[in-house]
């Protein structure tokens, strides 16, 4: 299993990192908070921790800490536009339920 990015998502991430001027990749994780138990973490990564799982998808390095991986393994990250808003969207096969807006979820 792995974490993957759609090509569109990868293009945007590469672009953002280039404009930011630094960063080794993307850090994806979960933390316990929010109304349905878990919340996603999506951050720029400036360095990899020694125990990080590393994935590469369309040229983007994705770092996931070992504790988060079971919750999000097999997930795909997409970049979409909804009306005037645009941003990243997760499709996570592990999710059993999520709150109305999808910002937090349970497994």
């Amino acid at each position: 299993m792995a974490i993957t990015l759609t090509e569109n998502a990868a293009k945007h991430v590469r672009n953002f990192i280039a404009k930011r001027g630094k960063g080794v990749g993307l850090r994806i994780g979960v933390r316990t908070s929010g109304c349905s138990g878990m919340a996603y973490k999506l951050e720029f990564a400036d360095e990899a921790a020694s125990d990080d799982h590393q994935f590469t998808s369309h040229g983007v390095t994705v770092l996931v800490d070992p504790k988060s991986l079971p919750y999000i393994d097999g997930m795909e990250l997409d970049y979409t536009r909804e009306g005037l808003n645009e941003g990243f969207k997760f499709s996570n096969p592990n999710v059993k339920n999520q709150c109305g807006c999808g910002e937090s979820f349970g497994v």
Binding site: F16, K19, G34, A39, E43, A45, L84, F88, F90, C99
Partner: protein, 647 residues
Amino acid sequence: MALLQISEPGLSAAPHQHRLAVGIDLGTTNSLVATVRNGISVVLNDENGRAMLPSVVRYLADGSVAVGEAAQAMQSEDAANTIVSVKRFMGRGIKDVGEISRLPYRFADTPSSFATSGGSGQAASPLATSGGSGQGGMLQLRTVAGVKSPVEVSAEILKVLRIRAEAALGGELVGAVITVPAYFDDAQRQATKDAARLAGLNVLRLLNEPTAAAIAYGLDNAAEGVYAVYDLGGGTFDISILRLSRGVFEVLAANGDSALGGDDFDQRIHCWLLEKNCLSALGPQDTRLLLTHARAAKEQLTDHAETRITAVLSNGEVIDNILTQAEFQAMSQNLVQRTLQPLRRALRDAQLGVADIKGVVMVGGATRMPQVQHAVEEFFGQTPLTNLDPDKVVALGAAIQANLLAGNRGGDEWLLLDVIPLSLGIETMGGLAEKIIPRNSTIPTARAQEFTTYKDGQTAMSIQVVQGERELVSDCRSLAKFELRGIPAMVAGAARIRVTFQVDADGLLNVSAREMSSGIETAITVKPSYGLSDAEITRMLQDSTQHAQDDMQARSLREQQTEAEQLLEAVQHALELDGDLLDQAERTRIETRMGALRNTLQLADHLAIKRAVTVLNDVTVGFAQKRMDKSVAHVLAGKNISELEVK
């Protein structure tokens, strides 16, 4: 599910706690909104992909409001109800807007925003003199939908931008940073804040436009040094000198011309068209038509050597002219030159030379014109920064600041310092302006100064807050007036009243007064009397340099007069109380000298008054001694009477 944005390491927002913040450039001609997404500042477009919202608001009879392009389209048809360039009216009274007759609006002035009451009861209030001029409230515009203030009109523009931002970001905004010209005075800043509040925006901070531009260029991450921001907008020109040191921005000086902008270049082409085609006195519709074509031609000439202007007037006459870049440069040369004078003044204010400027930032659509870029390059001897869209650069910088203030970025936080364009002070006895915060002080700042009572038993003090560089209050602008009451009755000069001026990070002024010996502090809200225009600030600055000599003379005279009056009063008072201590000869001598001093008061000669004061002081030494011998056990020999009174 909700769409996510990439955060900085360790700063992922908790669910439903996104701190969405935007930067808004509330411009005279166009307004924009920007935000930081995925670590990058971007301008938010509307559903048609347009970034710029024309700052035009049209009020309709049914009470609805059109903002932006829709309003702009009806500008000539419904001029009276279509408000353009409302920024010029923010925080201004009718008197401040000179060209009123040329504007198609129906104005309504409002009464003063504060009462100019004098002292009452036994409260001697010697400081209450008629001070600055034009203390009227903000002007109002009569529209088909009722009377609207510039604050309300601006709020309509901000509301559209807020709704756009919320749609684009998918949530409610935590707050916004709104930019204002560095020159905006207290009233204008307050009006901008009010407009934002009315539009349902939480103002994180008002940010000076040049500072925002510098942030957009990432100068905050650049090497330390002094930078110039050259902002030629639609109708205004601003030059600011910023210093970056240890990650802190400080506006060293700001200058400009509030009646110079890209529109003037359109006007030149318009006049040229009239001349070429032997036209005169066109109707408003044709004028607008030609101005639109003139603007298009100006934009064409940015990257074309020549452009063709074709238009059909309402009477069927056809306009068809070729305008070359060289011709355009020749006709607009003096406009470009006019921007250089404020530039020199700003450098002088900052006590810097051209060689000290490390970089030049270009802001405003009009800086796209090659002749402007050349002139700036020549003046500074370096190529200005132009790689960001000059129309968007201010909004982009404001968004970065908003993102930071909303707490979305950790660590390397910078603090922005701005300056006060004109000195702030209060009126003192004799109509003199005592400066408490000098011009070009960095803000936020707080300064206090102690004042005292002028008359025995004075229980109230009227405090007039003034802004300006001149020595006499009548030459400065009155911002507000309030009273401190409940001062315990004491002899003149015994009360100690501490007046504190506080200017917050937004450039807004709070003044408080506290009587120190009794601890009485009156809660005071200073409402600015709306209205001090950029042009006035410039004029007041020029006046202050031109009249420096006169002012000094006037100041010395008033000071002497005040001192003389105080002495006369003290002696008179002493004569009434202890006149029996004197023999007739002594009394006559003193009274003669008092008469002589009163006579010199009429003369505008401060040296003569000074001499008469000295003489009177001398002849009262003996009297002072007698009074002291009488009333006090320990002797203070050799002191004159006025010192005795002060204790």
